[in-house]
Each structure stands twice: as structure tokens, then as C-alpha cells.
């Protein structure tokens, strides 16, 4: 088991290098660089200044040299500085000689996105698992049909449109929820409870709306898993033993049906750090999605590469964790009854 783990972790290194190489080249395939933004098209700025800026950032060098420079920094876990945002550090905060700290861009955006996505994932799961179980138990009857209908309505509605409607209804007509932003303007003056409530109110719509629109997939996953398991022999055996329906469903069937869900959650781990551009733009939330989108549009290579690197590392880590969780949850895997992958 331990050698397996070490081997898996060591394998991640060449994979990360490969992923970063491909992302770096694809990023540089896009035409333009930091000096070709629309704002730079100002008749008062000069081409000489732009050329000097390119030289400063080594953008005039061959891509492979630029990649080498980037990799050299990455070995020291130095994510570099943003080209666009006045040389803000990409990841970690930095402190200058006088003790003033400049926060890193990912460091600022990541907690927001993580909070939103974890809350969203938990909400999706708490809704999807019971709904999936009910749909499977009452398969092809009205509860199943209405759950499916509800899910597909949620799935089909464009998130930004639903967001705007709810912002108007719950924010303008009734002033129950704040419309956009993450903190109230008087946030600093609130006490701890008030701060938590303020944050909760601001996050309500941006978390609930994607959860509703994303419910369909997970519910169907649970439902189909349940249907598979419910028709298996061991469930029949359990019933034949005279166990109650409740015990059969939740202790025997559901546990087995949830196994594939572990893979799903493992795979969604990297998704947790990638925010939704559209939700973040509409709700004016400074998260990872907006950061990444703007960095791509500005050709802010260090930020793009920083986010991609963390994303790919997390993807690999998520796969690993999913496999480990699988082994933990499924005795057949743990005890080597079935061949390990």
C-alpha cells in the first residue's frame, strides 16, 4: 500500500511538468501579449515603451526559453508576479523592507471561491442524495417523475438568467438579499455574528443558484446507482433475512450506491478552485473564475500559469484521494480481492 502511494505521488511530478509544458505552449499560441490589450491602444503610449516591457518580461525570447525561466522559478515554488496587476505577487503575499504586505492574487481569490464551491457542493449533495434515493425507490411513479422534471428545468435554465431574475425579485422588489458583492460596506463595523450573517446573506444567491442548476447530474447519478444496487442479489438476501425496508435501503443499498459518488467528488476537487466566471461576474465576487478569465484576456501569463498549475496539481491529487477513499470505503479493494489499478 505504501509503495503504491509513493509510486503514485512520484508519478505526479513528470505529469505536472508535462501538463505545465502543454499549458504554457497553448497559452503562448494565442496571439498577443500583455502589451496588446485594448487599453494599451492609446495614442499617448509609445511602441518603444511596449517593446521595453516585452523585454522586461522576456516576451521577446523563444517560448522554450520563457518556459525554462518559468520552470526554474516554479522549482522554488515562486509563482512570480502578475504582468497586468502592477506586479502583484501571483500566489503568496510579499512583505517589503518597511513591513508593508502586498497580498498575492490567488491568495486573495482562492478562499472566496473555495468557500462558495464547498458550500455549493455540500448543498448539492444534501439535496441530491435524498432526491436520488426517493427517485430510485419510487421509480417511474410520480415522485420520480417530478424530481426528474424539476432537475431538468433547473438544468436547462441558463444560470445567469435565473440569477438576474432572482436578484431582481429578492434584491430589488423585496430587499431580502444583497444584490451583488461579498461584503456590506459596513462589514468592518459588524460583530462576529453580524459578519457571519452578512457573508451568509451575500453568498446565498451565488451558492444556491449554481447548486440548483447543477443538481440534475448528481441526482441522476445517485438514482441510477441506487437502481443498480437495489436489483442486486445481496439486497434481495437482506430483504429475505427480514430486515426492514429502511435498513435495507440505507445500510445496505445506499452505501454501495454511493461508491461511485466518491470518484465524482474526487474529480470535482480541482473544480473547487475554479470559480464560475459568469456567476462571479454577475454577482461581483472577486473569485478565481474572474481572476482566470481576466488574466487570459489580458495575456497575463504568470497568473494563467499559476492557476493552471495549481489546478492540475489538484486534479492529480483529487484522483489520488479518490482512489484512496475508494480503497478505504470498499473492503474488496483494500484487501486486494480485486486487482488494484
Amino acid at each position: 500500500m505504501l509503495t503504491y502511494l509513493i509510486r503514485r505521488i512520484l508519478w505526479m511530478i513528470p505529469m505536472l511538468v508535462g501538463i505545465s509544458l502543454i499549458s504554457f505552449f497553448i497559452m503562448h499560441l494565442a496571439p498577443g501579449d500583455i502589451t496588446s490589450s485594448e487599453a494599451a491602444f492609446d495614442p499617448k503610449s509609445s511602441e518603444e515603451a511596449r517593446q521595453k516591457l516585452r523585454e522586461l518580461y522576456h516576451l521577446d525570447k523563444p517560448i522554450i526559453v520563457q518556459y525554462g525561466l518559468w520552470l526554474e522559478r516554479m522549482v522554488h515554488l515562486d509563482f512570480g508576479h502578475s504582468f497586468a496587476s502592477h506586479q502583484k505577487p501571483v500566489f503568496w503575499a510579499e512583505t517589503d523592507k518597511e513591513g508593508n504586505t502586498t497580498p498575492g492574487m490567488i491568495q486573495e481569490a482562492l478562499p472566496v471561491t473555495l468557500l462558495m464551491n464547498i458550500a455549493g457542493l455540500l448543498l448539492t449533495l444534501t439535496l441530491a442524495v435524498p432526491l436520488g434515493v426517493i427517485a430510485a425507490k419510487k421509480y417511474a411513479r410520480w415522485p420520480d417523475r417530478s424530481i426528474t422534471l424539476f432537475n431538468f428545468i433547473g438544468f436547462s435554465i441558463p444560470g445567469f438568467w435565473l440569477s438576474l431574475l432572482l436578484m431582481y425579485w429578492l434584491g430589488v422588489i423585496h430587499t431580502w438579499f444583497p444584490i451583488s458583492g461579498l461584503h456590506s460596506l459596513n462589514y468592518a463595523q459588524l460583530d462576529t455574528l453580524g459578519k457571519a450573517q452578512d457573508l451568509l446573506m451575500h453568498l446565498f444567491l451565488p451558492v444556491v443558484i449554481p447548486a440548483i442548476t447543477g443538481l440534475a447530474g448528481v441526482t441522476m447519478f445517485v438514482k441510477n446507482g441506487m437502481l443498480d444496487v437495489l436489483s442486486q442479489d445481496f439486497v434481495t438476501t437482506a430483504r429475505a433475512k427480514g430486515l426492514s425496508d429502511r435498513t435495507v435501503t440505507y445500510r445496505h443499498a445506499l452505501r454501495n450506491a454511493l461508491l461511485p459518488l466518491i470518484t465524482l467528488i474526487g474529480l470535482s476537487l480541482p473544480g473547487l478552485i475554479g470559480g464560475s466566471v459568469i456567476a462571479e461576474t454577475i454577482f461581483a465576487i472577486p473569485g478565481m473564475g474572474k481572476l482566470f478569465y481576466e488574466a487570459v484576456m489580458m495575456r497575463d501569463f504568470p497568473v494563467v500559469m499559476g492557476i493552471l498549475t495549481i489546478g492540475s496539481a489538484l486534479t492529480l491529487l483529487g484522483n489520488l484521494l479518490a482512489d484512496l477513499a475508494y480503497a478505504w470505503a470498499d473492503p474488496r479493494l483494500r484487501k486486494g480481492v480485486m486487482p488494484q489499478r
Binding site: 494565442a30 491602444f41 495614442p43 499617448k44 503610449s45 506586479q87 486573495e108 444584490i179 465576487i285
Partner: protein, 566 residues
């Protein structure tokens, strides 16, 4: 620093960047929906907004689409930074309400007889917000900073023309040029002066001053939550006297639809509008109309159809003029900008002294267009509806930047009108960086629909002078006319406004006759401001609605009872 916002208000909708593409789509959908149910909601408040005398205090909340990257605008080189910087830092000179130069930090300035030396005399008793004196040493330091190779300011070029600068005493600042340079005065009205005692010895590109600046102007930075809001508070030591409003809050809301919802819920006091919100949505909602003042003002920018003059058939002035006559500018203004624009005949803001009043926009005259095409040898001999010469069809590609809906629609209207006179066009929308890098820079295009945002100085050397055609420079259409070159050079040497006016009127006349591009429209900047904000200049002065915003005030009875939470 062409786009110095007079007092930080950015009105120019045409200058919004591609970042807001998503917002555009959603605002369109929201708009149609809001209009449909505009009679739905009722607002309980029926406040009256009677006039009150000026009084200090209060908070003004507005929205801006993107977070500035830094408070040092001249290094960051983007409009959000410059806009916030304009609240924090002073310049030597400024433009008054009629767009004439006047002193800001400078009490007076003098151009020497040889026009190569400018001497600025500073006002007495200037100081920074921390109480340290603001002297000519700070200005000298700022000049050294912006021209320093390591600063990499995109705006360095105008300041690099200064051969040397002196600060002989704390209130005198002298700059020497190797030859007269009239736009220098605008450059000294753009340079935001930074404190030497905070920045000396620091690396300007990584300094934390960019996040925690020390100001001298009406406001100082109180709190900055990145991507959320910027809180400014009144600087009691402001060198120009005190502003009325205590706090200015700029909320960062990228999506225009979300901004508008915040405006409807009265969570923000002001925002920039797009034409449909200005002309259709607000007028159709009485509850909004009651509490909002709407302003429109011409920006210093215009949209154009530009030709690649190095390519056939655009080297022929008759073809260029024919296209100009074939396009109905008013139709574009009405259809795309809902009438919120104006057709122009010279590349200057109409109504300012630089705009030549004798030049009326090319009228819509398809008959004349056809005649000009015939004179140029173009005929439709095979009857397919497209004219040709020497067996070659008159057909070209029009490029524009993807996501700029106004320009994309404009291109379609142009396509239809040109078809009527027998010219075939293909439209291609490209992402901005791709358009710039693959087409504009190498000069590989036929025609483009784009826009220019200009400064307040009439100098347009970088756009029109024949020496400015290298890849990456701004005369990318390849315009070359010795008469224009000479006028542009003269304009740079002449400091007298009256004489400069003659030069630039003549320059615009030559352009008009050459028709190197088709001026399509100069758009209005549109703003809504809550009626609780009083003291706004009415009518809007040439300098814009934001002029003298330090005199705005919010009367006590009209203030929000608290800084609103929900």
C-alpha cells in the same frame, strides 16, 4: 495619459474593454424583460428632492466595472487606476470647465521666448496628507520616475522629450526641451505628482505604495477590498481646499445589469449607462425617473471605418470618398446608439475650439458615391450587383473587435449600404489581441471599424504623421501626406491657442478632403446620478459632468440613514 478623467468620472462607453462581453449579453436580456414588466413594482418612497444649500458630509456610492490594478496610474497604464488616481494626486496644471489650461499645483507658468523652457511657480503652502510639504522636489522626482527605464511607463515618451529639469527652490520647477513642444502643457496636466519621501529608493513596480498611497488631492484612500470596493475619505489637508462629500465609495461591479439592479435598489448613487438604459429603460420607469438625474456629454472619442491606404483600391481618393458618401452616419447613430451620438467632420470633439466648424460630415449621397466609383473606373459589367475594374470586383473585408456589439452592428449597416452602391464587403469579428497582433500590426487588413479615444490636447502626431507607420505604431492605416506632416509638426511648435487652432482646422480640412477614414460617430457618455447629489453643474460644462465634483454635496435630509447593508 490621453484619457485623464477630469475628476475620475469615466463616461466613455465606447472605451469599455472586451472584459464585459458577458455583461453585455445579460444586460440585453434583462433589459427586454424589465421593459416588459416595468409597471410591476411599486416603490413606497415619494421623496421630493428640493434644493438645499451646500453642506459638508455624506457618502457618495458609485460603481465601476473593473478594479484598478494599482493607485499609480502612470505605471499601471489603465483607465481605472488613472480615474482613482485623479482623486488622490494633483498635477501641475489642469483643464478648467471650458477645457482651457489653468494652474492646479502651479500658481503660474511661463513659456520662455524660445519656447524651449517652461517655468512653473508652485502655490504656497502645499502639503501631503501626512503634513509633509509638497515641493518642486516631488515633481522633479515624479518626472525622474516616469522617465526612468526601470519604471516602464507606457506614457514615458512625452516626458522623455525633456532634456533636463531643475528644482532650484521649493516653489520653482523648470523643464527644458531641445525644441518647442506644445503638447508638453497637456502632459504636465496629466502627470499625477507622487511623494518623494515615500517612494525614494523603492522599486516602483513592486512598491506597496501602489496599494496604500499617500495623497495630496481632495481624497485619501481609506479602505480597499480588492475586487469589491474602494473607500475614499476626504483629505482635510487637501491642497485645493476641502471637498464637500465626506466619503466616496467605488463599488466594483463588472456586470452592467447588476450595476443597474443596484441602482434600482438605491444601493448606488451613480453609474455609467449604455444607450438602451438611458433612452428606453429609465424613461419607462417613473419610479426611477423621479429620483435620478440623467446626463449626457460628448466624449473625446469617435468610431471610424479606416482603410488600409497601402492597398488597392483604397489608394484612390475617389473610392474612399465614394464609400464615405455611401454610408449613412445618422442611420448608424440612430440604429446602434439610439440617437446618442453625433456625426463629425473632423477628428475633434464638436463644440471645442479644435473642431473646425466649417467641416460638415459627409452627407449620405449614394448617387454621388456611384458617380465617383464610375469616375474611378468601376462598373458593373457582368450584372451581378458588384462593380469591377479590370475584371476585379470591388470587394473587401471589414475587421472589427469581437464583443463590441456597437461596432459589430455598425459593420453590418455599412455592409448593407455599400452593397447598394455595388461594393461587396465581408465582416470578420476578431478577439482584440488577435486583431491587433495578426492584422493591425503587420498591416494585413483591408478596412477596420475601430475607435480612437483622444486627449484634450489637439496634437494627433502619433495617429497621422507619416513617420508613425512602423509595426505597433498608431498610423497603421498608412496615411502619408506631406501637408499633414507639416501641419502636425507646426502644431507641436506653436503654444498660442489661437494660432494652434488655425493649424488644426487646416489639418482637419486636409483630412476631410483626403477621406483616409470615414468618421462614423462620436458617442455620448451617459451617466445617471441620484437626485440626492446636488451642486452638479447644469448645463454640463465642456469639461464634463464630473467637473468640480468636489463641490457636489448631499444634503443631510436626503442622505441614506445608514451605510446600507442589505
Amino acid at each position: 495619459m490621453a484619457k485623464k478623467q477630469m475628476h475620475g468620472w469615466q463616461h466613455n462607453s465606447a472605451m469599455r474593454t472586451h472584459r464585459h462581453g458577458i455583461g453585455r449579453i445579460s444586460v440585453g436580456l434583462l433589459c427586454s424583460w424589465l421593459v416588459a414588466c416595468s409597471s410591476g413594482s411599486q416603490e413606497p418612497q415619494s421623496q421630493t428632492f428640493s434644493a438645499y444649500p451646500p453642506q459638508p458630509g455624506g457618502t457618495l456610492i458609485s460603481a465601476m466595472p473593473s478594479d484598478p490594478s494599482s493607485m499609480i496610474g502612470m505605471v499601471a497604464g489603465e483607465s481605472a487606476s488613472l480615474a482613482i488616481g485623479a482623486y488622490l494626486f494633483n498635477s501641475l496644471l489642469k483643464y478648467d470647465q471650458n477645457l482651457d489650461l489653468t494652474g492646479e499645483l502651479a500658481e503660474s507658468w511661463q513659456v520662455a521666448d524660445d519656447k524651449k523652457t517652461i517655468t512653473f511657480k508652485l502655490k504656497p503652502g502645499l502639503q501631503w496628507a501626512d503634513g509633509k510639504p509638497l515641493t518642486s522636489a516631488d515633481i522633479l522626482f515624479t518626472w525622474q520616475l516616469i522617465t526612468d527605464e526601470k519604471t516602464h511607463s507606457p506614457y514615458a515618451s512625452d516626458y522623455q522629450l525633456v532634456t533636463h529639469a531643475d528644482a532650484p527652490d521649493p516653489r520653482t520647477f523648470i523643464v527644458h526641451y531641445s525644441q518647442p513642444f506644445a503638447p508638453a502643457l497637456e502632459s504636465w496636466a496629466s502627470l499625477q505628482v507622487l511623494p518623494k519621501h515615500k517612494l525614494a529608493g523603492q522599486d516602483i513596480r513592486t512598491t506597496s505604495f501602489a496599494q496604500k498611497p499617500l495623497s495630496s488631492h481632495y481624497y485619501q484612500l481609506k479602505e480597499w477590498r480588492h475586487g469589491e470596493y474602494i473607500k475614499l475619505e476626504r483629505n482635510p489637508k487637501s491642497v485645493l481646499g476641502s471637498a464637500n462629500i465626506d466619503h466616496l465609495i467605488e463599488r466594483i461591479i463588472p456586470d452592467p445589469a447588476a450595476q443597474f439592479l443596484e441602482l434600482m435598489a438605491d444601493n448606488i448613487d451613480s453609474m455609467n449607462l449604455d444607450p438602451i438604459t438611458y433612452a428606453r429603460i429609465i424613461p419607462s420607469r417613473p419610479t426611477l425617473q423621479v429620483r435620478l438625474n440623467q446626463f449626457k456629454e460628448l466624449g473625446n472619442s469617435y468610431t471610424y471605418l479606416g482603410f488600409n491606404l497601402k492597398r488597392k483600391p483604397f489608394d484612390d481618393v475617389r473610392v474612399r470618398k465614394a464609400i464615405n458618401y455611401a454610408i449613412d452616419k445618422q442611420e448608424i447613430i440612430d440604429g446602434v446608439y439610439l440617437g446618442l451620438g453625433i456625426a463629425i467632420g473632423s477628428p475633434y470633439k464638436p463644440g471645442t475650439r479644435w473642431s473646425n466648424p466649417q467641416l460638415t460630415p459627409y452627407p449620405f449621397d449614394p448617387t454621388r458615391a456611384k458617380k465617383l466609383l464610375a469616375e474611378a473606373g468601376y462598373q458593373d459589367s457582368d450584372g451581378d450587383g458588384v462593380v469591377e475594374r479590370d475584371g476585379k470586383k470591388l470587394s473587401f473585408e471589414v475587421l472589427t473587435n469581437l464583443g463590441n456589439k456597437g461596432r459589430e452592428k455598425t459593420a453590418v449597416i455599412i455592409q448593407r449600404r455599400l452593397k447598394e452602391v455595388g461594393i461587396e464587403t465581408h465582416i470578420r469579428s476578431l478577439e482584440w489581441a488577435s486583431l491587433l497582433t495578426n492584422f493591425i500590426k503587420p498591416g494585413d487588413f483591408d478596412a477596420v471599424v475601430m475607435g480612437w479615444g483622444l486627449g484634450l490636447d489637439p496634437d494627433q502626431y502619433t495617429i497621422w504623421h507619416s513617420s508613425q507607420q512602423k509595426p505597433g505604431q498608431f498610423n497603421f492605416i498608412g496615411y502619408s501626406n506631406p501637408a499633414v506632416d507639416k501641419l502636425l509638426e507646426q502644431g507641436r511648435l506653436e503654444f498660442d491657442p489661437e494660432k494652434r487652432m488655425q493649424i488644426y482646422h487646416e489639418f482637419a480640412k486636409v483630412l476631410y478632403d483626403d477621406s483616409p477614414l470615414v468618421y462614423l460617430s462620436a458617442g455620448y457618455g451617459l451617466t445617471a446620478i441620484h437626485k440626492r447629489v446636488q451642486g452638479i453643474m447644469n448645463p454640463v460644462p465642456p469639461a464634463g459632468v464630473g467637473y468640480d465634483s468636489q463641490k457636489w454635496y448631499i444634503p443631510e435630509p436626503l442622505r441614506r440613514t445608514q451605510i446600507q447593508a442589505e
